[in-house]
């Protein structure tokens, strides 16, 4: 009359083990769910009985109560179908209670009794391992993902029937097909920097961005190649450590965007559309809190094309992840934290019509509209964009006269060296790369030569460099010096850094003209 099974609820990216209790008692046939089930779990009520009956098992025609405990945690997602069904079957004595206790279960059931893959299985497996449970039983399609957790027995089952047979000792899963070593090839498969013709300055600027973790603003007319360049940034970022890859996989698993299963090895590249909502970009949503695009871009690249067309509140919301590398979504049910440390690449036309500064087409925007357009990016957000460059639309002659670019692998080699130098210089520092150096210490940490100081003060006098522009230039110069292997920031490094500061707002250029 009583059964007990482990399931896992996923809140944010963390799972917590839930005990699913079932009781079969006297009364009219019914199924009652208690213990703060979310809308997705409530759904299970109607699905479980047909699934059980289709599997050649018997549904107890009595009053059934299922309780999810602890009752304080909101349970959401379709993964509770399987533990609920098993709890009821255990209460009806159709499965042995002994082996049940050594597994946590997750999976959605079809009416026919098949197990359907669910999102968040990696988080389930991690939680189960942390709780000391011996193994997990998950849908076949999720097995590879759960396998990523070391020291956990993973059973990928095709149907509810197979799970019951497993518990009875009548069925063993076929040995798992190991996921291919490369895992998910990622969205950048087949892309390489050598595809880009011309745009040497943008290539160089992105190399610097990759080496120092700097965020980039690219301005240029339509068709200049901004998107093409941005997509290739993740191909020159250093490879991810296993820990980083696991973080990414877990986030993608929770969001249900994991394709093919297995570890995500390529750095993510996310390019949300301008119409993205605030929860879509930053995470959240009603009911189940999903990671947003910023978290899906964790350890990778977030590309905002036509950045001025994004909703203002969504853009302002980027400030927290840009600052802290995480997003905290607070709802009535509690606060959830998602990691979100990414390189931001923003692209924009220089003005509403897109042709300001173009050689062949003149800009036709009324000046006040051009101003309003540029004011759509707030100062604090601009402040986080260390590198700002103009990407010109090349004429045919310029394109033909351009050299092909270096391959991504070559550039990545230099980037990895530069990152290594950063780590060696400041092993104890709380920041991981130059871009994260706080402005207050940047100048001391960067170690400028006397000549570099002089170059910097020239820019302050001659180009009306602001205090914030100053910090940005120092950070970028430090990265350039790291790329060149300079111990201290030399005058040349500083001078080059100062060229990647194309003014965005009219005011910024006031005294430059």
């Amino acid at each position: 009359v009583y059964g007990r099974v482990f399931g896992v609820a996923v809140v944010g990216v963390r799972g917590s083990v839930i005990t699913v209790e079932a009781h079969v008692g006297r009364g009219l046939p019914s199924l009652t769910l208690t213990g703060l089930p979310g809308a997705g779990v409530q759904d299970a009520r109607e699905r479980v009985r047909p699934a059980v009956e289709s599997s050649g098992l018997e549904w107890p025609l009595r009053r059934v109560v299922v309780n999810l405990s602890p009752a304080g945690v909101r349970k959401d997602g379709p993964g509770f179908d399987l533990p609920i069904a098993l709890g009821v079957l255990a209460a009806a004595a159709q499965v042995p209670a002994g082996p049940l206790a050594s597994y946590a279960f997750a999976g959605e059931l079809s009416l026919k009794g098949e197990l359907i893959p669910v999102p968040g299985v990696l988080a389930v497996a991690i939680a189960a391992a942390e709780a000391g449970i011996q193994g997990v039983v998950v849908p076949e399609g999720n097995a590879a993902e759960a396998e990523l957790v070391e020291g956990l027995e993973v059973v990928g089952a095709p149907t509810l029937r197979a799970v019951v047979d497993l518990l009875k000792g009548l069925w063993r899963p076929a040995p798992l097909r190991r996921p291919p070593a490369d895992g998910d090839p990622g969205p950048q498969a087949g892309m390489d920097f050598s595809d880009v013709r011309g745009q040497g300055v943008a290539r160089r600027a992105l190399e610097i961005a990759a080496a120092g973790g700097h965020n980039v603003l690219m301005m240029g007319p339509p068709g200049a190649g901004k998107t093409m360049l941005a997509r290739r940034l993740s191909t020159i970022l250093p490879g991810m450590t296993r820990q980083e890859a696991l973080e990414v996989t877990r986030l993608h698993s929770v969001a249900g965007v994991l394709s093919g299963g297995g570890l995500v090895r390529a750095r993510p590249f996310r390019a949300p559309h301008q119409s993205v909502s605030m929860p879509g970009l930053l995470g959240g949503g009603s009911g189940f809190l999903r990671p947003g695009e910023v978290s899906l871009a964790h350890n990778g690249v977030l590309f905002l094309d036509e950045v001025t067309e994004f909703r203002r509140d969504a853009l302002e919301g980027l400030r927290q992840p840009l600052e802290d590398g995480r997003v905290v979504v607070t709802r009535a049910v509690g606060a959830v934290e998602f990691p979100a440390r990414f390189t931001l690449v923003a692209a924009a036309n220089p003005c509403p019509c897109g042709y300001e500064g173009d050689l062949r087409r003149a800009c036709r925007c009324p000046p006040n509209r051009a101003d309003a357009y540029r004011h759509r990016l707030s100062g604090p957000l601009l402040d986080r964009l260390d590198i700002r460059l103009s990407v010109p639309r090349l004429s045919r002659a310029e394109l033909l006269g351009s050299q092909d670019g270096e391959a991504s692998a070559v550039i990545r080699g230099r980037v990895e060296e530069a990152r290594e130098r950063q780590r060696r210089r400041m092993p104890e520092a709380p920041w991981r790369c130059n871009a994260q150096m706080p402005g207050s210490v940047a100048r001391d940490v960067a170690r400028l030569t006397r000549d570099a100081e002089r170059t910097l003060s020239q820019a302050v006098d001659g180009m009306a460099l602001s205090g914030r522009g100053f910090d940005r230039a120092v950070r970028v110069a430090r990265t350039i010096a790291d790329l060149r292997g300079h111990e201290r920031v030399e005058a040349d490094d500083m001078a080059e850094a100062l060229t990647y500061r194309t003014p965005w707002q009219v005011g910024e250029a006031a005294k430059a003209g």
């Binding site: 300055v201 290539r203 050689l359 003149a362 006040n368 103009s390 310029e398 060149r484 060229t499 194309t502």
Partner: protein, 450 residues
């Protein structure tokens, strides 16, 4: 040939000497000689716009002597200037019949010469109220026949009956040369406008423009920077700062020169007022310089008026591939004087830069620019000659900048590494030898660096 060759304000120029002697009456339209003088153009443009039919009697229409004699008349004029359908030409006709401004206002209120809405408006505005508003805004009215009324305005076919002035009397701001052009100008255009304005200001000329953005703002700013005087003609009410972004600039112009408008306080900026404003810009100036403009733009209208009025027209050529070069190039093709820089302009106007220290610049509170800025040699260096004391890499990079070029192309062409090219470009930029425009670098002209 009716006096076309000795038009007012054309100060004797070389253009005239170059004109081939050709009997004008026999010339057919369409078969123009290569070189023409402004007068020819004026007639041609007049014909194009259907002005040839105006008979002398109508042209001779003048403001009656007692039009604005009493204070009541002056207050009434303020109301009349608010009525957009009572055009200056209509007002002139009405004044010829009614005599004084006060009687004109009475006539309009009774239902003459303006739209029903404007008649209504004329009835609702209290003239005294308007006068008080004007005073509060620190502006004054200069009516026709007033000693301060610029007589040049009477050259117009439709002279304004009065001008509202904020700042210094116009009599102190002479001679005047206008610099006009596109609002949406290029970086080079605004630098050229500013450098022309600086040169004019140092030579003691008041720079006239429309107070708009782009070339206009650059011209005003240039004149102010050189410690000179400048005059903005608004297309909105005298107290309406339009565009709002130029509020600070307009305040400075009023402090150092004057802001004038045909329109009383509170009149909003509306599209049809700007062409009307342009005729005042042209009339107040002895010459008009067009820096950049697209076909059909306000710069073309100002130049047309200038030709009509016999003012000298100058144009700074732009590339034929750029839309912004359209108006200046069309004007040059029609015979306007081509400017290569401030020296050309000063030479053509018969002016020269005063010796350092002797500038007719007002003593400005914050002190004038350093004397070095005033040296005539500033603009002597032409764009082609390489600047001195560059490092080897810098001079190679400078040499490669024949046209706007992306830095990676400079690197490819010279064999210097891109990082080194970028550093060199920064050094050149900070010394104001080059500038970045949309991802390419280009040389600055020698005279833009003052």
């Amino acid at each position: 040939v009716s006096g076309a060759s000795h038009s007012p304000g054309d100060g004797s120029h070389r253009t005239i000497e170059c004109v081939p002697a050709e009997p004008e009456p026999t010339r057919e339209r369409g078969s123009w000689p290569l070189l023409r003088r402004p007068g020819d153009l004026r007639r041609e443009l007049g014909a194009r716009r259907g002005r040839e039919g105006i008979d002398d009697a109508e042209r001779a229409l003048a403001w009656p002597a007692g039009f604005c004699a009493s204070p009541e008349d002056r207050h009434a004029l303020l109301v009349l200037l608010c009525l957009s359908t009572l055009t200056p030409r209509r007002l002139l006709g009405l004044a010829a019949m009614e005599g004084s401004a006060a009687s004109c206002l009475e006539a309009v209120r009774r239902g003459r010469d303006a739209s029903v809405r404007d008649q209504e408006l004329a009835r609702s505005i209290d003239p005294r109220d308007m006068a008080r508003r004007l005073e509060r805004g620190g502006a004054g009215l200069v009516a026709v026949h007033d000693p301060g009324y610029p007589p040049e305005l009477l050259d117009l076919f439709d002279p304004p009956a009065g001008l509202l002035v904020r700042g210094h009397p116009l009599g102190l701001l002479e001679p005047r040369v206008a610099i006009v052009g596109a609002r949406n100008c290029s970086a080079a255009g605004s630098e050229i406008a500013a450098s022309l304005a600086r040169a004019l200001a140092r030579a003691g000329v008041t720079v006239v423009s429309g107070g708009a953005r782009g070339i206009d703002a650059a011209a005003h700013r240039g004149a102010l920077d050189a410690g000179g005087t400048t005059l903005a003609v608004l297309g909105s009410g005298i107290d309406v700062d339009y565009p709002r972004g130029n509020r600070v600039l307009l305040a400075e112009i009023a402090a150092e020169g004057a802001v004038v408008s045909e329109y009383p306080p509170g009149i909003p900026a509306e599209p049809f007022r700007f062409p009307a404003r342009n005729r005042v810009v042209a009339a107040l100036s002895v010459g008009v310089v067009v820096v950049e403009g697209r076909t059909g733009s306000g710069s073309m209208i100002t130049a047309d008026h200038a030709l009509d009025l016999g003012r000298e027209v100058f144009a700074v050529p732009g590339p034929i591939t750029s839309e912004l070069g359209e108006v200046p190039l069309a004007l040059i093709r029609d015979g306007a004087t081509l400017l290569r820089g401030p020296d050309d302009l000063l030479g053509d106007l018969g002016l020269s830069l005063p010796a350092p220290g002797g500038a007719r610049s007002r003593a400005r509170g914050r002190g004038g620019p350093p004397a070095a800025h005033l040296s005539p040699g500033e603009s002597d260096r032409d764009a082609g000659s390489p600047p001195q004391d560059l490092s080897q890499v810098e001079s190679v990079v400078w040499g490669a900048l024949q046209a706007p070029t992306p830095p990676d192309h400079i690197a490819a062409r010279t064999g210097i590494g891109l990082p080194e090219v970028m550093s060199a470009l920064f050094q050149l930029e900070v010394r104001r030898l080059v500038r970045a425009v949309g991802g390419r670098y280009e040389r600055r002209l020698g005279h833009e660096r003052g």
